[in-house]
Structures are given as C-alpha cells and as structure tokens.
C-alpha cells in the first residue's frame, strides 16, 4: 500500500499544480482509493459476492475569496484536468466570501502519529462465505421461532487516502475496516419481527465471533415477539446504549459552528452555559489507536486533539472548522469532517442498575423516523422497547412514539450506564431521562 500512497500523493501534487496553472490563488485536494469484498449468505446459501473497487478525488480552488469545488471517480489524466477546470469555472461564479480559504498554516499537522488503522485481512471469498454462514447458522439455530433470514454479510475494505493543500501540507495513510452483520426474522402466531446485530473493527482479530453476532441478532429479535402498544402517558425513559449515540449526534449538530453562526440550532449561543447536569462530561478522542473514527488530522489538514465539548455539564467548546470558526471569530477545533470517537462518561453502573433506578418506565431499544427538529429541539420518534415495572422488563412494546424537547431531555439526564460495549465509534452507555411523553392507544 505504501507505493499506492505515493501514487495518490503524486496525483494530489498534479491537481494542485493544475489549479495553480489555471490561476487559482489557493487550492486543496483529497484523493482516495479502496478495494473490498462483500459476501452475503442467506438460509445457508451464498446470495451475493460483490467485488468493490472505489476511487475518487475532490478539489476545491480559491480565487481570492471565491471558491469552487469539483469531484470525480474517473482518475485518468484527462478527467483530472476537466475536474480542476470545472472547479475553476464554478469559482468564477460564486460570491466573495470573507471567510473562504484554507486552514491557518500554523495549525496543520506537519508531524502526525501513526494510529495503527491498517490491518488488511487476506481472506478468500470461500473463507468469507464460511464465516458468514457460521454467523447466520448460529442465529437460525438459536430459537425455533427464528423462521426466516435476510442473511449474514461479511464486508472487508482496504483503502488509502491523501489530502494536500497549497500551504504545502500533504498527508495520508492506509486504513482497513471489517464488518460482520446478521439480520433475522422471528415469528409467533401472527406476529413477525426482524432485528439484527453487527460488529465492525479496524483489525479482523478484534471482531466479535460469528456465533456471538448471530446469537445476539437472534436474542434481539425473539425478545421483540408479542409486542403490545402502551396507553398514552408520561414516564421516565431509558435509551439503551445502542440507540443512545443518536442523542450525542443531536448535541454535536447543535454545537457545530455552522448551526451556531446561522442561528439554526436549538442551543443558540450556549458556549460556557450549563445544558446538562453537573456530572456530565462529553469528549472526543481522535487519536485512539485502531479507533474507527480516529484521524491524526481533519479534512483541512488541521491536527486533531482530544477535547472536552461538555465538562461539568457546561458547553466548553463548539465543533468548528476553519470557516465556521472565522464566522464566529474563533479558532478551528480540527473538526472539519466531524467529531471523532465521541464519548460520554458513565456515572450509573450497569443497565440493570439503571432499570432499578428507573423502577417504572420505558426501555427504548429501537427508534424510527426523522422526527428531530434541529432548530427547535422538538423530538418525536417512533419507538420499540420494553415496559419496565419494579426495575425489571415486563413485556415488549411497539408502535408507540416518545416525544419531548432535546434541551429539556439533556437537562433531565439522570444517569448514563457503563454498558458501553456497543459497536461503532461512539462510546456511550444507556441514558436514563427523567420524563418524556409516550403516545400509544
């Protein structure tokens, strides 16, 4: 792959040179290439084998304070020239924008660590099929009520990317990502349910075992059988750890610089204000070795650093790139392209402890729909889960909604569990929220 990186670096250099030749005063470019294999086994038989080979590049050019962008998946020299030319044409038509431009050169990651993100998996389609089959078999054999399957899928991708800009920055590295997932259906009387489980890692040896993933998918779907509606009421709600990351994403959306300067946030001008109880700390850790969202520099080449967004319940930092930082008169936080490995600290013990503490209420295990208004914080989503009495699960519930307002929900966060063993880049346990409106019968 190292030679591949050099090729990509050369391509970035060529793009920047072409932009300069066409009169751009500044430019940046990113090039990526990846190859992968994806196999799906359904009901014990191979369903699909896909060989994926993706490549692409994007360039942004600046003519003074005007910018234009173009991208392509066609990497032959003629297409590269056409792409740069298109970006320049666009830049002639966009408006002067005081904040348009590259990141401050002093903030660029000229010397960055190797985060151990590249662990290729030499696996043949036959081996991949075997693993997917083991996973699906474990799910189907788990319970007689598992009557159907959408299959188990193994996916492995190896890729490289390089980013460079006309400040002289160039950086890039290879990465890998491997995933195994399983989707099964269970039936009892007239009730049919579907659920899934998965794992995804940088290194194949860290993946959960095929049997563990299959069994988890099976347990989840069987537990949903016999779901009932609830009567409309107010009650405390626990967002189980695997659905809690959505709440953190809503927070990040609201404290992003773009939402702040456009006044398009349900948390306007909240810097240094308390929005959570005092014990809450939410931070990002972009430099975790093998982390799924780890990156030594952001999409503008700015060095990334561990950072608290919320400490003692107070907003300590917005999520900024150079543009939004300029609009707000601040400095970029190295979050061009998003936050990396977001985490919330736990204070509440196990999920069982949270259930005991809630005593009576709703445990939410799945959310549906897009009912989150980023401007007002109004929250109303379809939910599936379990009704809880005396701290123990009573029966599955479905076809209900939970509603509230995110600002109030953040203020009413009672506890976060230590059940953080969920796949993906966000580290959180389950959230207990004091009170929400549940709509049902």
């Amino acid at each position: 792959m190292s030679q591949n990186i050099e090729q990509l670096e050369q391509m970035v250099a060529d793009l920047l040179a072409e932009a300069r030749r066409l009169g751009a005063s500044a430019a940046d470019a990113a090039v990526s290439a990846s190859a992968g294999l994806s196999v799906t086994v359904r009901l014990g038989e191979v369903e699909t084998i896909e060989h994926n080979r993706d490549q692409g590049l994007g360039i942004t050019v600046y003519f003074g304070k005007r910018k234009g962008s173009a991208s392509t998946t066609d990497l032959n020299p003629k297409a590269l020239k056409e792409t740069v030319a298109k970006a320049c044409t666009i830049a002639r038509n966009t408006s002067e924008d005081e904040c348009a431009g590259l990141a401050d050169p002093e903030l660029l990651a000229h010397d960055y660590p190797d985060l151990d993100l590249h662990h290729p998996w030499e696996i043949s389609p036959e081996q991949a099929i075997g693993i997917a089959r083991d996973c699906e078999t474990a799910a189907r054999d788990f319970d007689l009520r598992i009557t159907n399957s959408e299959g188990a899928t193994l996916n492995t991708v190896e890729g490289s990317f390089v980013y460079g800009n006309s400040h002289g920055f160039v950086g890039g590295y290879p990465t890998t990502r491997h995933s195994l997932s399983c989707v099964v259906m269970a039936q009892e009387d007239e009730c049919m349910q579907r659920d899934w489980w998965y794992d995804t890692r940088r290194a194949a040896e860290e993946l959960a075992s095929p049997a563990a993933i299959g069994e988890q998918a099976a347990k989840r779907v069987v537990a949903r059988l016999g779901g009932r509606k609830l009567g409309t009421c107010e009650a405390p709600v626990i967002f189980r750890a695997d659905v809690a990351p959505g709440l953190l994403r809503s927070l990040v959306g609201a404290i992003r610089g773009h939402a702040q300067y456009r006044q398009a946030s349900f948390l306007p001008d909240v810097l240094e204000q308390r929005i959570f109880p005092e014990w809450v700390r939410i931070h990002e850790a972009p430099l975790i070795p093998r982390g799924l969202a780890s990156a030594p520099f952001d999409n503008e080449g700015v060095a990334t650093h561990p950072r608290d967004f919320i400490r003692e319940g107070v907003v300590r930092s917005y999520v900024l790139d150079s543009y939004s930082a300029c609009k707000l008169g601040m400095t970029t936080t190295g979050n061009a392209g998003g936050v990396r490995n977001l985490a919330i600290e736990s204070n509440g013990g196990s999920l069982e402890a949270l259930l005991k503490r809630m005593d009576r209420g709703l445990l939410v295990t799945e959310l549906m729909g897009q009912g989150v208004n980023p401007v007002t914080g109004d929250y109303s989503r379809g939910a599936t889960g379990f009704w809880v009495e005396d701290g123990t699960l009573q029966y599955p519930v479905e076809e209900i909604t939970i509603a509230g307002n995110l600002r109030e929900m953040f203020g009413q966060l009672v506890a976060v569990g230590n059940d953080t063993d969920i796949p993906g880049s966000v580290r959180t346990g389950s959230w207990l929220i004091e009170r929400m409106t549940i709509a049902g019968n």
């Binding site: 699909t48 084998i49 060989h51 897009q370 076809e399 307002n405």
Partner: protein, 480 residues
C-alpha cells in the same frame, strides 16, 4: 439505431475504443452456461450543484462519474463487480470476478442486437447546459430576495439548485442493448424565521426530468420561496401536538409518502420472494379499504420518479398494486421476477453502476375517489389535518411505519383550527390501509422532491394521493 443509443455509445464506449464485438466478448466471459442471467451496465453522469446561503452564493460543486457494473446470476446467487475505468481489460477482469459465483461452464455464444426502447418520457438533453451560469446565479439570488421580501421575520435562507445528466447503456445475456439519457433538475429552499426569540424552519422545492428553465416558468422557483416562508410562519404559531390515537386527514400530493412507506416498500418483489414482508403471499386478498387503488407508474412524462427504461433495460409502465382494496401484484426487477415467475414491471433500479439493481418504486400514488375534500374535513369531530411531511421510515417485516409532520393542524368540530408542531404519526401499514374511510377527488402528485433510500441506495421517486381520511392513527405529540 436510435439517437439515444448512438449518443450512449459515443459517450461511454467509443472513448475507450470499445465496440459491439468487445461487448460480445465481455458478455461471453461473464455469461457461461451455468449462469442464468447476466448484464453489463455502463453509466456516465455529470452533476452540478449550487448553494446560496447567508445571502451569497457560497458553494458550487461539479461531479463527474462513470463506470460499468457487471452482474452474473446463477439460481439465487448473484456475483457482482464494477470498474470506474471503462476499458476492455478492466471489463474482462470484472467479468471474471462476477462470474465466479457460478460453477465453471462453457462460454455461451451471444448475438448482439438492439432492444426496442419506447418513446422517451423526457428530452435527451444535458440540463446543466440549459441555463448559462450567470443566469443560475441570478435565479438563486432572486429566490433569496423573494424569501426575504416575503416577511421581515425571515432570518436565514438557503437555496440549492441541482442539475444532473445521466447516460446509461445496458446489455443483457441475450445480447439486447438498450440505452437512456436522463436529465434531472431540483431546486430547494429552506428558511428560518424568528419572532420573539422563537425560531422555526421550513422548506419547499420541486423538480423534474427536464432542463433548468422548468424553474423559470410562471416563476415556479419563486413560488418555492414563498411557500417555505408561509410554512415557517405557520410553525411560529404552532402549539404542542396532542398525543394519542385519533382520526387523521392527509392532504393531497406529498403526503402520499405515507403510501410509499406504509404499503409501497412492502410490495417490492425482493421482500416478498424472501418472505419478510407483511404483504408476502397475499395476492388476491383484501389488504386495504375498498376505496384504495394504489398504482406505481414509471411512465408518466417528465416526472422525477419516471424512467423510459429501468436500469435493466425493461420499459417502465403502470402497475396496479392494490385495486379496490385487493392486492394485485408486486413490483419486480429481473432477478426476483424470474424466481417468482412473475411479469417484469420495469422497477429494476440501482443508485449507480457500483450498486446492484433491486425492485424499487417509481411514482407511487393512490387514485382519486369521489369525495369533496371539504366534506372529508367536516366529517372529523376531533383529529389532525396533516398537510406536509418531512420524512418517513418503515419496518416492512412488522409493517410498522413512522412519519414526521412538518405542517399539521388540529381539526375541531369539522373545522381546521390551530397549527401543531413536531408531530409524528406511527402505525401499521396493512392496518392503516384498512382504516381509510374517505378518499377525495383531488389527486395530486408531489412537486418532484422525493428521494427513497433502501439498503444504502438512494433513487429519485415520486408520490401522490388525493385528500384522504384514516379513522385512527397514533399521533406522537407532547401534550396529554
């Protein structure tokens, strides 16, 4: 040879020196004797987008993409490979990877021919060139000015203008070649309004398979600006939504997204062949109120969800899914139609050459009934009038669906009264369809803004319906 086909060949094949003989060679490498079906899909696409925000044209982007996807099917197995660089060597390599799904077999001999393609439903133009850049910029600025002039409470306006040019060529293992040139334009306007510290947002937009002049006709795009402002101002007055089960009247047009989610996905062939849909095995049974006739029609000229041919070369058509409440059939792609021994319906669609085709909707709508919309509202003592939705989702196995309302009002004693905010509807698709008790005579299709996601693939779609009443749906609000 049609004009479209020569254009597709000149754009996709000639630059790499690929001729019909080479296509035959690649297909023969892909479709060995143990392969039941195979296809080659070539695509060229160009997409230009502009964004006005904060009163200035901040962003412009141009995307160039092309490639070829090769698929070989043996029984229920599919092998798939694609390449971004269209040349004979890559195509043969991809054919070798895709074919590995099947047992080794003899090469079949392919005779190349041209498929009869129906009359195009849209002009074979490049919509990016239908307005000079300066006029695109001027249009964005006029939309911004119109929104800001509409009301002093408008604080933020974002406008996007997108034009896409797609050329596809598909060849199957019988040697049939078909092609299509697909223009697509879209404009959307988002506004944020503020009054007394309270902020609300709303959006509007539209689009079509035509050129950008579509937005200039009758000042159509300025209408989007006024509509977005109107909706946002309504939301400023909105009160908390009542929570619980109640009668819901859905307005005409875009609320048809409810059908798309509640029944449309459940009628896609793949889900039904594999059996996880709540509608599986129910053809001939009553699955909805007899007032409901639901069709999918990819052959309506110029619509966002329309295609002259689908991504497997099958001409699109009108397919009746539910007639007077009785389930008639499913939407199919070649793979599922063959396995279910069902007719092709022209619903084989893919996001791009890098994705496998699946049965997908085109324009899905409920046919008009005979009731006056006013009468429908008058019939409700206490309920909700849902005019606009921001999105929906369905779990086709359990049939559960969810929608988020972006504009809705209370109905009290047969009259539309206060606007409500942040409401969600949740229900069970098959159940809700049996509770449709009144259907209006005012069928409308949506303005051309829909995008549907399935298995990570997005495709443009259309929806529509007349005003209709559902006797009971659970409304997720905050007010008890």
């Amino acid at each position: 040879m049609t004009d479209t086909l020569s254009l597709a060949q000149e754009t996709l094949l000639s630059p790499a020196g690929i001729n019909e003989h080479h296509l035959k060679q690649v297909m023969e490498a892909l479709a060995t004797s143990s392969v039941d079906a195979a296809d080659l899909f070539f695509q060229y696409s160009r997409l230009e987008s502009w964004v006005l925000d904060d009163g200035i044209v901040k962003e412009g982007n141009f995307n160039l993409e092309q490639g070829a996807g090769l698929r070989a099917i043996s029984g229920e197995k599919t092998g798939f490979a694609y390449t971004e660089a269209i040349n004979l060597e890559n195509l043969l390599e991809a054919a070798g990877s895709a074919r590995a799904i099947a047992r080794a077999g003899q090469s079949a001999s392919i005779a190349v021919g041209t498929q009869q393609v129906p009359a195009p439903l849209y002009p074979p133009i490049n919509p990016i060139d239908t307005l000079p850049d300066e006029e695109k910029i001027a249009l964005l600025k006029r939309i911004d000015a119109t929104a800001r002039a509409a009301d002093p409470r408008v604080k933020q306006v974002t406008v996007s203008l997108v034009a896409a040019h797609d050329i596809v060529l598909v060849m199957d293992n019988e040697g049939r070649i078909a092609s299509d040139v697909r223009p697509l334009v879209r404009c959307s306007v988002q506004v944020i309004v503020e009054e007394g510290g309270r902020r609300e947002q709303a959006g509007s937009g539209g689009g079509s398979r035509t050129g950008l002049e579509f937005f200039l006709k009758e000042e159509r795009a300025l209408g989007y600006a006024r509509e977005a402002v109107r909706q946002a101002l309504v939301n400023l007055e909105a009160i908390d939504t009542p929570a619980g089960a109640m009668a819901v009247v859905l307005g005409p047009g875009w609320p048809g997204i409810l059908l798309h989610e509640a029944v449309g996905h459940g009628l896609e062939g793949d889900f039904n062949r594999k059996g996880p849909s709540a509608f599986s095995g129910r053809v001939g049974q009553k699955v909805a109120s007899e007032l409901c006739t639901v069709v999918d029609d990819g052959s309506i000229p110029g619509r966002r969800g329309s295609l002259t041919i689908d991504d497997e070369g099958t001409p699109t058509r009108e397919t009746v899914l539910i007639e007077n409440g009785v389930l008639k059939g499913y939407m199919q792609d070649r793979f599922n139609a063959r396995l279910m021994q069902a007719p092709l319906t022209g619903n084989g669609r893919r996001e791009s050459y890098a994705h496998l085709p699946m049965p997908r909707m085109t324009n899905t709508y409920l046919r008009a009934g005979d009731q006056d919309p006013e009468e429908i509202i008058r019939s409700v003592k206490k309920g909700l009038y849902a005019v606009n939705f921001s999105g929906g989702q369905v779990d086709i196995t359990s049939g559960k669906f969810v929608f988020s309302l972006s504009e809705a009002y209370l109905i009290e004693d047969g009259r539309v009264t206060a606007p409500v905010k942040g409401a969600t509807l949740i229900g069970n698709g098959p159940e809700v369809m049996t509770r449709v008790s009144m259907v209006g005579n005012d069928l409308q299709l949506d303005p051309g803004i829909g995008t549907c996601g399935k298995d990570g693939q997005s495709v443009p779609v259309g929806v529509g319906q007349p005003t209709l009443k559902v006797d009971e749906i659970t409304v997720g609000g905050t007010a008890l």
